[in-house]
């Protein structure tokens, strides 16, 4: 039998493009929740409003569960379920994932595969060998939502999946409202033994809450950075070029904007930053970075790089937009920066405009990312021409 | 005493080896400068005597004037000297020369480097002696020679003593008025 943790991993897979931050944060919390549920179903722990207590310290025989059980027994500073979800999500999620994946590989459900990209990014992926277990898990969820009388394990599983907010992705044909009411009904039914009901609903609540809190934190940073980036780009477009002092002799502005050496320095720095930003984006897109525990940080650093680019661009141009081909280069580059920044504003700001439906936000985000990538295409060509023309003339 | 002998011996051998090094390439910088100076001063003397003296003093056909173009006259010998020096710079970078003074009518002809000042002071204080040295200018090493420039005729003295921009008005014929500086870049 698979543990909740393993089932959850199967459902989430290592598929591409889980870009929605809520899901991503939920995933770490859900892993923590899954392992707690596994322990609850093994009758090793119990929870109430005040505390999460170990009821039976005897090992379960599953090393992944036993490690966590030992940790819960040993630590006295963490008492209640919410705290344990936070602790496990931040400290153990990556290891839990590793262990669960190992177990799935051992059972020949998944295959471990090592990849390299650009000689820099190394990654491990887990293609499916045996589709059956995943289908089994999915059909169990389907059964729960249809009118079948569910098994307690199935109720627990669907709570986890629901907490991860991946139901619409797994079963796109389901009506969201109907599913919600059915889940609400299941939750109220006393289908699971008394010992477990409290634990499961408590854990599910906590997963959702913790995920929301993390997502909110991320979105707040994302929104702040994206707003800074957007403002910087818009300023670059609107501000008049900064003049140089009308005094003979070297001055910082004159050196920055009219001295060949400085221009080369800022120009190549800008190029390096832009390439770094692009590498992060590619790595994220190709899932070459450990996205479970860190992709949001990488995404934020992509944005920080973007802001750094606007700053270095200012060093390079002093708000001058250039002429002819230089103007074309500037326009394209600013389009890349602005579309990127606005994507951040849309995603990070989504919770603030509730009247706009999520699908609209997705559509806006898709269009912006498309513009972001499209504007990127002519950049290398324009850059080559820009750099060549400086050295040729 | 021994130490002094050692130092003197060392200096002597360094000097000899430098001279030898210069001689190995042909003529020493010092000698080349001396020869150039001979050409320059002979040229100036001939221009003064055959052109200026004859046309403006003896035959009174043309005036010799600082503003020779406006006055439709002859350039002064010192001007002629400088025109040629500038023309030489158009043709070669292998050497350059200038006519300078510690008390020039035009400030641009005052000493511009430490060596120039030192050399001009040396030739003024030690009549009959030349001054040789090395200096670094614009990141390159130069051999520089300074030769005394005398007030040869009354006209020189007259003009310098009466010019409104002249800082010295007590010159007399035969006195050192300034110097010719000849420079070679040392590879």
């Amino acid at each position: 039998m698979l543990t909740f943790t393993e089932e959850l991993l199967l459902l989430l897979g290592d598929e591409e493009g889980l870009f929605l931050p809520v899901k991503e944060h939920a995933f770490e919390c859900a892993l923590a929740g899954a392992i707690l549920m596994d322990l609850a179903f093994a009758f090793r722990i119990d929870t109430d409003l005040q505390a999460l207590v170990v009821t039976d310290p005897v090992p379960t025989g599953n090393p992944m569960l036993d490690r966590v059980l030992e940790k819960i027994s040993a630590r006295t500073d963490v008492t209640d379920a919410p705290a344990w979800i936070r602790v496990l999500a931040t400290e153990d999620a990556a290891l839990i994932r590793e262990q669960a994946l190992d177990s799935l590989v051992d059972r020949r459900i998944l295959k471990r595969q090592h990849n390299r990209f650009l000689g820099i990014f190394r990654s491990v992926s887990y293609p499916t060998l045996d589709e059956a277990p995943l289908q089994a898990v999915k059909s169990r969820i389907e059964d729960v939502v249809s009118d079948e009388i569910p098994d307690p394990r199935d109720v627990a599983l669907i709570s986890l999946v629901d907490a991860c907010q991946i139901l619409p992705d797994l079963f796109p044909e389901w009506e969201a409202k109907q599913t919600a009411s059915r889940l609400e009904l299941l939750r109220r039914m006393d289908l699971i033994g008394r010992e477990l009901t409290g634990a499961i609903s408590e854990i599910q609540d906590q997963i959702i809450r913790a995920a929301r809190a993390q997502a909110a934190r991320f979105k707040k940073s994302l929104l702040t950075l994206a707003l800074v980036a957007s403002a910087a780009v818009i300023a670059t477009v609107l501000m008049p070029g900064i003049g140089v002092p009308d005094r003979y002799g070297p001055s910082l502005p004159a050196q920055l904007w009219f001295d060949g050496t400085w221009k080369q320095f800022s120009g190549y720095l800008l190029l390096a930053l832009s390439v770094a930003g692009l590498m992060i984006a590619i790595a994220l897109k190709k899932q070459l970075l450990a996205w479970i525990s860190g992709s949001h940080r990488w995404r934020l650093s992509h944005l920080v790089l973007g802001i750094a680019c606007v700053f270095v661009l200012f060093m390079h141009t002093g708000f001058r937009l250039g002429d002819n081909l230089n103007a074309a280069l500037m326009a394209t580059y600013l389009t890349v920066l602005l579309s990127g920044a606005l994507t951040g504003v849309v995603v990070g700001g989504a919770p603030h405009f509730r009247q706009i439906s999520l699908s609209r936000v997705f559509a806006a985000r898709r269009i912006l990312i498309w513009v972001h990538a499209l504007a990127l295409c002519p950049l290398p060509a324009l850059l080559i021409v820009h750099i060549l023309s400086v050295y040729l003339y | 005493m021994k130490r002094i002998a050692l130092v003197v011996g060392l200096l002597w051998s360094i000097g000899m080896s430098m001279t030898a090094a210069l001689a190995a390439e042909g003529v020493s910088y010092e000698k080349a400068a001396d020869m150039l100076y001979q050409v320059m001063s002979a040229n100036r003397e001939v221009y003064t005597r055959v052109v200026v003296q004859r046309l403006s003093v003896d035959e009174e056909i043309l005036v010799a004037s600082e503003h020779f173009e406006d006055d439709a006259g002859l350039p002064l010998p010192s001007q002629m000297f400088r025109f040629v020096a500038e023309a030489v710079l158009d043709n070669t970078e292998n050497f350059s020369y200038s006519l300078l003074s510690l008390h020039p009518i035009n400030k641009k002809n005052g000493p511009a480097t430490d060596l120039e000042r030192q050399g001009l002071e040396h030739v003024a204080d030690n009549p009959g002696e030349n001054f040789y040295g090395q200096e670094e200018l614009g990141g390159e090493r130069y051999f520089s020679a300074v030769y005394p420039d005398y007030a040869v005729v009354e006209a020189c003295v007259q003009c310098h003593n009466n010019h409104k921009d002249s800082p010295r008005r007590d010159l007399s014929v035969g006195e050192v008025m300034g110097g010719v500086v000849i420079r070679f870049p040392m590879d």
């Binding site: - | 400030k107 200018l137 130069y142 420079r183």
Partner: protein, 476 residues
Amino acid sequence: MQAVLGLTLLGAAYVVVTMTVAGDRRMLLSGETTHAHHQLEMACETCHGRSVFADAKAAQKALNKNCRKCHEDELKAAKDSHSRKRFRNPRMAEYWDKLDARQCTPCHIEHRPEITRESAVTVAMDFCVACHSQGEQDIRTTRASHAGLGFETCATAGCHNFHDNRALFEDFLLGHAGQPEPTRPAVHGLTARYRARPVSTDKALQPGDAVAPPDALAEPGALQHWAGSGHARAGVNCTACHAADAAKDAPSSQALAHWIDAPPMRVCMECHKPQAKTFVLGRHGMRQHPGIAKPRDLPGWMGRWLGDPGLPVRMTVGEARLPMRADAHPAMAVDCASCHTEHALDTAHAALEACASCHDDAHTRSYFDSPHHVLWQREQAGEAPPGSSVSCASCHMPKLEHRKKVRTTHNQNDNLRPNEKMIRSVCLDCHSLGFSLEALADPKLIRNNFTGPPGVRVHSIDWAIARSRNPEAPED
């Protein structure tokens, strides 16, 4: 996405080819080119040479060499006060870091409209501070009168120029000090001499002598205008211009076989060499300057596709940066006939109406209400002696003497910037130096074309006098 990527790669390839092989490269211009050079924008090599990937120093050197190619003579004529020659001497090494006068580009960089000031200067106008604020060169201590002056005023107050001080140096000021304004009508000596020159009528042709096809002879006014022109007076028949390619002594019937209705400019230039030579130095004719780079060579079929845009031979009204009249057609190009009406070759027209038929700035418009114009009307009416009037050409294309011959310069930019260049060749003929300096330093007076007294005081003559009286003491 891939299509976009492919397209831009194609675009980049095209641009790289235009950069390295041939094609129109104006899209590479990093900023508006100055008034002086915008007509040559498509001929990059005129200035840039072919120093591909040379190090910065060598590239600068090559660039400056090309500056000198066109501007050296003019600087020589200006008795350049900061000549390259003087600063190339290694003894001036100390100054190379302050303001490198061995080269043009430290002060005049192209394609930087934002920092380009009067006379294409691209450093702040207080540049004199670089050298004249220290040691023996500190002008504030060596000239007491200059103690309180700002360095931004040296070159902007009508007292000094960096290159051309022919009418500003101290002895010149002293030589012209105390002159009263001459009583009018004063006469521009060279112009008077030119107008009074004996004109031989030995070879003069009559209307009946004209050799031309019948339809050309029938063109209204043509014959009559030619008959009254200097050409007819000097024995220049129709075929001399309209069939210039025919042998000089060919009989008229053979010459007519080579007849062309509109002879190109080179026909004029063949005889009027001195005029042509100066014409290509000014902005009207600079596109024919021999220093302009030829389009890069490409084999035939490639040339047709990718060749450099040929440099238009003539400047057009549409390309002008100065204000032009709305009724002057943008495609109208400047050649000899634009000003010298064909056949009549009216120099009076060329000296005034021709200019005002295109130029439409305040200075031009104000001319017609100016005292100079009154003088012009009087001379035209025969009420004043020859050479006493002032047209556009009197100042901008003055008569100059070279080897005892008086000629009209056709480089109308020669004495324009800095405007003190005009003092010797033009102003002093009729005005005192003091008046000239002040008039030229007053932008308002230039706009209204010298109608009224100068509103600007230039102290240079007073200070020169004070210093000459008492060189040691501080002047005032």
